[in-house]
C-alpha cells in the first residue's frame, strides 16, 4: 500500500481527476496549498505598487492506493499536470509527486483493515 501526495497547479485538477477516474481510482482528498519551487512566482500590481507573489496556489492531492494501482495513478497525474512548457516537456511549477509507504488503512464505517479497506 502506498500513499501518493501530489502537488500541482489548481487549473489541471479537473483533468487529473478525470484521468484518475478512468484508471478506476475513485477515492482522493484535495486541499488548497500555497507553495514555492523553482519557478520564480509572478507579479501583481496594487495601486501602482509592484508585489512579488512567490507563494503560489497549488492543490495537494492525497490518494491511497494498493501497489498495482501506483503506476496508473502516477501516469494519470503526470499526463495532465505536466503542462506544455517552452520545449513541450513541462514547465517550472508543474508540481511534485511524493510516494510514501502506507502501514495500514482502516475503513471507519466497518472497521475493515488493510488492502481491502483502500479500494
Amino acid at each position: 500500500m502506498k500513499l501518493i501526495i501530489a502537488y500541482f497547479k489548481p487549473e489541471v485538477f479537473t483533468d487529473v481527476k478525470r484521468a484518475l477516474l478512468r484508471a478506476d481510482i475513485t477515492k482522493m482528498s484535495v486541499t488548497n496549498a500555497l507553495g514555492c519551487g523553482a519557478e520564480r512566482g509572478y507579479h501583481e500590481t496594487y495601486r501602482g505598487a509592484d508585489i512579488e507573489i512567490d507563494m503560489l496556489k497549488k492543490v495537494r492531492m492525497e490518494v491511497a492506493v494498493n501497489d498495482e494501482y501506483l503506476q496508473p495513478a502516477i501516469d494519470a497525474i503526470m499526463e495532465h499536470a505536466q503542462t506544455d512548457g517552452p520545449d513541450h516537456s513541462g514547465d517550472h511549477g508543474d508540481g511534485k509527486i511524493f510516494v510514501v509507504p502506507l502501514e495500514d488503512c482502516i475503513r471507519v464505517r466497518t472497521g475493515l483493515r488493510g488492502k481491502e479497506a483502500i479500494g
Partner: protein, 472 residues
C-alpha cells in the same frame, strides 16, 4: 424646526402664486401665450413650479437608473467565479464611462436628432451636446424637464444597454477588445434603434409602443450578448464530452442532453452578492420605468410603480415554479433571474397595461426565462449570468405582450418593431465583434482562463488573503 421652516417656505411660495393669480385675475384677462413669457402671471408661476417638480423627478430617476449599475456589478460578480471578480467589476465600471461619454459625443444626437428627422430611419444632429437654439427650459419638452435632465436620463439608459453584454461574455473575453466592441455598439447601434421609436423615427409613426425599452434597451443589449456568446464559445469545462464522465460512474445523475457532451454547471461564487444585485436592480427599475413617464404626472408614475412591482413579484413565481418542478429543488439564481425577467417583461407596457395584465406578463416572463436558460444550454450557448434569457427573450416577450394586453396597441406593429430591432442589432453586433475577433482576438488564452482573469488581465485578486479553490 428645520422641516417647519422648509414647509413654511413652500406654503409661502404657493400662497404667492395664489395671490398673484387673484390679483392678476382681477386686473386683466390672462393670455396663456404671454403668461409663459411673463413670470409675473399665475400661469407662469405654475409652469415654473411644474417644471421644478417634474425636473426633480427625472433627475431622481436618472440617479436610480445609475444605481442599477451597482446592481449589475453585484449580480454579475455573484454569478461568476471568485477568480474572475476583479475583471467583472472592472468591465462594469468602464462601461459606465464608455456609455456616458459616447452618448455625449454622438449617441444623444443620433437618438434624438430633432423634429426634421421625424419618421426617418436615421438621423444625426451633430457631435456633442448643446441645447437647441432659442432654448427655454419652460417650453423644452412642454416644461417637463430641462435639456440637461433629458441628456443625463437617456445617457444612463445607454450605459445600461451596454452593460447587459458584460455578464454574458464573462470569464473568458479579453478586456481591451470587449471595451472596444462596447464603445462601437453603444455609440452607434443603440442610439440608431432608439431613434426609430423614441427619437420620433419610423416606428413611432407606425404606432409602435415600447414604454421604457423592453426592445430598445434590453433586447438591443441582449442581441449583442447573443452575438458575444456565439463568437466566444463556451467557458472551458462547461460542456464536456460524454466519454470523460463514463469512467466515473458517479455522474449517472447528470443528464445526457445532446449525446455528445453534457452540461456541467459552473457555479457562481456568491449568492448574497447576486441577491443584493437583483434587489438593487429592482430598486433602480422604479427610476427606469418611473422616469420613462418623462414627467412627474402623479397618476401615471403611480400606475407604473404598481405594474412594475407586480410584474417583478410574479416573475419570482414564474421562475420558481418550473425550476422547482424540473430540478426538484427551487434554484435561487434562477428565481433571481425571474425577478429581472418580470421587470424586463413589463418595461415595454408598464404605462398601458392593467395591474392584472402586468402580473400575467411578469409570470410568463419568469417561465420563459427558465425555459430559455435550459434551451441555451441545450444548444451549447454558454451565458454565465442568464443575460440573454432575461434581457433578450423577455425583452421580446414584453414588447409583444403590449400588443396582447394593451387595448389599442397592434400586435403586428409590435412584432415589426421587435423584428426590425433584431435585424439591425444581431448582424451589427456580429460584424463589429467579428471584426475585433479577426484583428486582435477576443478570447483569453486557455492558461489565463483557467488561472482566472483577475491575475491574467489585471494582476490583482478580488479577494486577496482569502483561499478558494481555483480548480474549476
Amino acid at each position: 424646526m428645520l422641516w417647519k421652516s422648509r414647509s413654511n417656505g413652500l406654503i409661502t411660495l404657493v400662497c404667492l402664486a395664489g395671490c398673484t393669480a387673484i390679483s392678476v385675475g382681477q386686473t386683466e384677462d390672462v393670455n396663456t401665450a404671454t403668461a409663459v413669457a411673463d413670470p409675473a402671471t399665475p400661469a407662469a408661476a405654475l409652469a415654473a413650479l411644474s417644471l421644478l417638480a417634474n425636473n426633480m423627478w427625472i433627475l431622481l430617476c436618472a440617479a436610480l437608473v445609475f444605481a442599477m449599475h451597482l446592481g449589475f456589478s453585484m449580480l454579475e460578480s455573484g454569478l461568476t467565479r471568485a477568480k474572475n471578480t476583479t475583471n467583472i467589476l472592472f468591465k462594469n465600471v468602464a462601461i459606465v464611462g464608455i456609455g456616458l461619454l459616447t452618448y455625449a459625443l454622438c449617441g444623444f444626437s443620433l437618438m434624438y436628432p430633432g423634429e426634421e428627422f421625424a419618421g426617418a430611419w436615421f438621423g444625426f444632429g451633430g457631435f456633442g451636446i448643446a441645447p437647441p437654439e432659442e432654448y427655454d427650459p419652460l417650453t423644452y419638452a412642454d416644461g417637463a424637464y430641462t435639456y440637461w435632465s433629458d441628456f443625463i436620463f437617456q445617457g444612463m439608459f445607454a450605459a445600461t444597454a451596454a452593460t447587459i453584454v458584460s455578464g454574458a461574455v464573462a470569464e473568458r473575453i479579453k478586456l481591451g477588445p470587449f471595451l472596444v466592441f462596447s464603445a462601437l455598439y453603444v455609440a452607434a447601434v443603440y442610439p440608431m434603434v432608439g431613434m426609430w421609436h423614441w427619437g420620433g423615427g419610423w416606428l413611432a409613426e407606425r404606432g409602435f409602443h415600447d414604454f421604457a425599452g423592453s426592445t430598445l434597451v434590453h433586447a438591443v443589449g441582449g442581441w449583442a450578448a447573443l452575438a458575444g456568446v456565439i463568437l466566444l464559445g463556451p467557458r472551458i469545462g462547461k460542456y464536456i464530452p460524454m466519454e470523460e464522465t463514463k469512467a466515473g460512474s458517479r455522474n449517472s445523475v447528470e443528464q445526457a442532453i445532446s449525446g455528445r457532451t453534457i452540461v456541467r454547471p459552473i457555479m457562481g461564487h456568491s449568492m448574497p452578492l447576486a441577491t443584493i444585485g437583483v434587489f438593487l436592480l429592482w430598486f433602480g427599475w422604479y427610476g427606469f420605468n418611473g422616469g420613462s413617464v418623462l414627467s412627474a404626472d402623479p397618476e401615471s408614475i403611480s400606475l407604473v410603480f404598481v405594474t412594475t412591482s407586480l410584474a417583478a413579484a410574479a416573475g419570482i413565481f414564474g421562475a420558481m415554479i418550473p425550476s422547482w418542478l424540473i430540478d426538484k429543488k427551487p434554484d435561487l439564481s434562477m428565481t433571481l433571474n425571474g425577478v429581472l425577467a418580470g421587470l424586463v417583461g413589463v418595461t415595454a407596457g408598464a404605462d398601458v397595461v392593467s395591474p392584472f395584465a402586468s402580473i400575467i406578463i411578469g409570470f410568463i416572463a419568469g417561465v420563459l426565462c427558465v425555459i430559455s436558460v435550459f434551451t441555451l444550454d441545450r444548444v451549447r450557448l454558454d451565458d454565465p449570468v442568464g443575460a440573454i434569457s432575461v434581457h433578450l427573450v423577455c425583452g421580446v416577450w414584453g414588447t409583444l405582450a403590449v400588443g396582447l394586453f394593451a387595448p389599442d396597441k397592434s400586435f403586428v406593429t409590435q412584432l415589426i418593431g421587435v423584428a426590425a430591432a433584431g435585424a439591425l442589432c444581431q448582424p451589427a453586433a456580429i460584424v463589429e465583434l467579428g471584426a475585433v475577433k479577426a484583428t486582435v482576438g477576443i478570447r483569453v488564452s486557455r492558461q489565463e482562463e483557467l488561472g482566472g482573469l483577475d491575475i491574467g488581465e489585471h494582476g490583482m485578486e478580488a479577494y486577496s488573503g482569502f483561499q478558494f479553490f481555483t480548480t474549476q
